[in-house]
């Protein structure tokens, strides 16, 4: 049984590796065929060659930590403020109805558009970056927490009411666990957004970080290095996603298995 399973997993892994190799080959082909200039799209070999040197340089890790610091600060603040607020407004329907339109409008707003305004008011500082990240993250977190709190099914709510469960216990043992899947989704979205927005701010200002390094390298003609940083950003985003899914599966072990392969 386990060998069959193992063989299937091995086969899938092989497929995935071949897919990656195929993409790399295509990438190399496009570069070699001269379809695009080397500065627009350097070949995979050139980009890969940059990594050993970058990994040894302090500058690289400094840039990564600058980006992450801004992202984590903004994200953390968003969670601390957004989750409780969302849970409260989700539990009291009247508040939810009133805030609905306002939150809808604010949510669809591209936070990065606030950058020129923020530059005026706060100047180009790391705390400005964290503030922009905070604003971008707080809405998905808030909305998902609210959605989760509202998502307590009527049947479960009525069951708790019919057994006269006191309000605090109801919140702790019914609303909170019921809202956790939604909250986790919100955290996952916000975590990805935080890195995205941090890099966006760095690209548009001179604030240090991965975005800034990409700009600097590209302007200096070192596009292989720029691409190395882009791939780094991708790796960070990918790891965040992976970690979130791990955390979710751990915390939500009680969930019945969804649609499986």
């Amino acid at each position: 049984m386990s060998t069959v399973h193992g063989r299937i997993r091995g086969r899938i892994l092989l497929l995935q590796v071949s897919a990656v190799l195929a993409v790399l080959a295509l990438w190399a082909l496009i570069g070699a065929a001269g379809l695009v200039s080397a500065t627009a799209l350097p070949g995979p070999a050139a980009v890969a060659a940059r990594f050993p040197e970058l990994a040894g340089s302090g500058e690289y890790w400094q840039a990564v930590s600058d980006t992450l610091r801004g992202a984590v600060t903004g994200f953390g603040a968003a969670v601390v403020i957004g989750v409780p607020l969302g849970l409260v407004t989700g539990t009291y329907a009247a508040a939810e109805q009133s805030s609905r339109l306002l939150v809808d409008i604010l949510r669809s707003f591209p936070v990065i558009a606030l950058l020129p305004v923020f530059l005026l008011v706060l100047g180009s500082t790391p705390s400005m970056k964290a503030t922009v990240v905070f604003i971008a993250c707080v809405f998905p977190v808030f909305l998902q927490a609210q959605y989760g709190a509202r998502g307590v099914t009527p049947t479960i709510r009525e069951t708790a009411v019919s057994y006269r469960i006191p309000r605090l216990l109801r919140f702790r043992r019914v609303v909170l666990p019921s809202a956790t899947p939604s909250i986790m989704t919100g955290l996952r979205l916000a975590a990805t957004t935080s890195v995205l927005v941090a890099i966006g701010v760095e690209v548009l200002t001179t604030l240090p970080g991965i975005g800034h390094m990409v700009v600097q390298d590209q302007q200096g003609g070192a596009s292989a290095e720029a691409y190395a940083y882009i791939l780094t950003a991708g790796a960070i985003g990918y790891s965040i996603n992976l970690l979130s899914q791990l955390a979710e599966s751990r915390l939500l072990r009680w969930r019945p298995p969804a649609h499986t392969e």
Binding site: T153, T155, I156, E158, T159, A160, V161, S162, Y163, R164, I165, P166, L169, R173, V174, P177, S178, T180, W254, R255, P256
Partner: protein, 270 residues
């Protein structure tokens, strides 16, 4: 189990909406259930049976008329009435283990963990489940019939002398349904509780009840209140083969059928 009081419904009306949109579900409905009785409420779908049960349990207030338990009116859920919902899959909390689910009402009453757990295990055993086997599982890991037993166990844990059940066996397969019916009868016998079962299944109502209350009409009201004189020792094979059983169910069925317009009653086509 302490001895409960009578549940009295006096001229209750329940409607939804107001003005021209008012939709009267039940009107002029009166009934009475005394302690220790097993009463089944039947009626066609949409007749207002669930609405009645919600008024009885305090989850909804009637638009007019009163529901009394003993001397006091029922305006919100009370300690003496436990409810087992129709949708057991929806009413059991997926994030709690089975024993946690059963013990939840006790947790709400502030009972300590070790005491709750013991009581939950007793209730699980009472409904025919093995606490060691299912106690630590999550609801979705059990079959439908087992989940409904857990819901019943939870109702027992509440230690209420009155048990209200809303179409409790409807979503369960036929074989499990017979087992659960007998379980309910034996629980009533052992604990001396009052049981009110709302169901659309006429056979089930006649099999289970000391009395069957038939709802009908739009808006719904009591159109019959018949005593089931099939004795106290009911069993699935003997009782259902009894000619008296057939008479009683025919009477109920006729009344319910009579509620439908003739064209609504399907005719068999050979």
């Amino acid at each position: 189990m302490k001895r409960g009081s009578s549940l009295i419904v006096e001229d209750v009306r329940k409607s939804f909406g107001e003005g021209p949109d008012e939709h009267r579900v039940i009107d002029g409905l009166s009934l009475r259930v005394d302690p220790g009785e097993f009463v089944c409420v039947v009626g066609p779908s949409g007749a207002g049976k669930t609405t009645l049960l919600r008024c009885l349990s305090g989850l909804t207030r009637p638009t007019s008329g009163t529901v009394r338990y003993g001397d006091s009116p029922v305006t919100k859920p009370v300690a003496d009435i436990a409810v087992v919902f129709q949708d057991y899959r929806g009413s059991l909390m997926p994030w709690l283990k089975v024993w946690d689910n059963v013990a939840f009402p006790l947790e709400g009453m502030g009972v300590k963990r070790t005491v709750r757990k013991r009581r939950a295990e007793e209730c699980l055993a009472a409904v025919g489940l093995s606490p060691a086997e299912v106690g630590d599982k999550h609801p979705w890991q059990l079959s439908g019939g087992m989940q409904q037993r857990v819901a019943i166990a939870r109702g027992l844990a509440y230690e209420a002398p009155v048990l209200l059940m809303d179409e409790p066996f409807g979503s369960v397969d036929a074989q499990s349904r017979f087992d659960l019916e007998d379980l309910t009868l034996s629980l009533r016998r052992q604990l001396g509780i009052t049981v009110i079962v709302v169901t659309h299944d006429i056979d089930e109502a006649v099999y289970l009840g000391d009395r069957v209350i038939v709802l009908g009409g739009r808006p719904a009201t009591v159109i019959d209140n018949l005593t089931i004189d099939l004795g106290t020792g009911r069993d699935q094979i003997g009782t259902r083969a009894d000619p008296r059983f057939a008479e009683l169910r025919t009477r109920v069925l006729t009344q319910i059928r009579g509620e439908k317009a003739p064209e609504q009653v399907p005719k068999a086509v050979i």
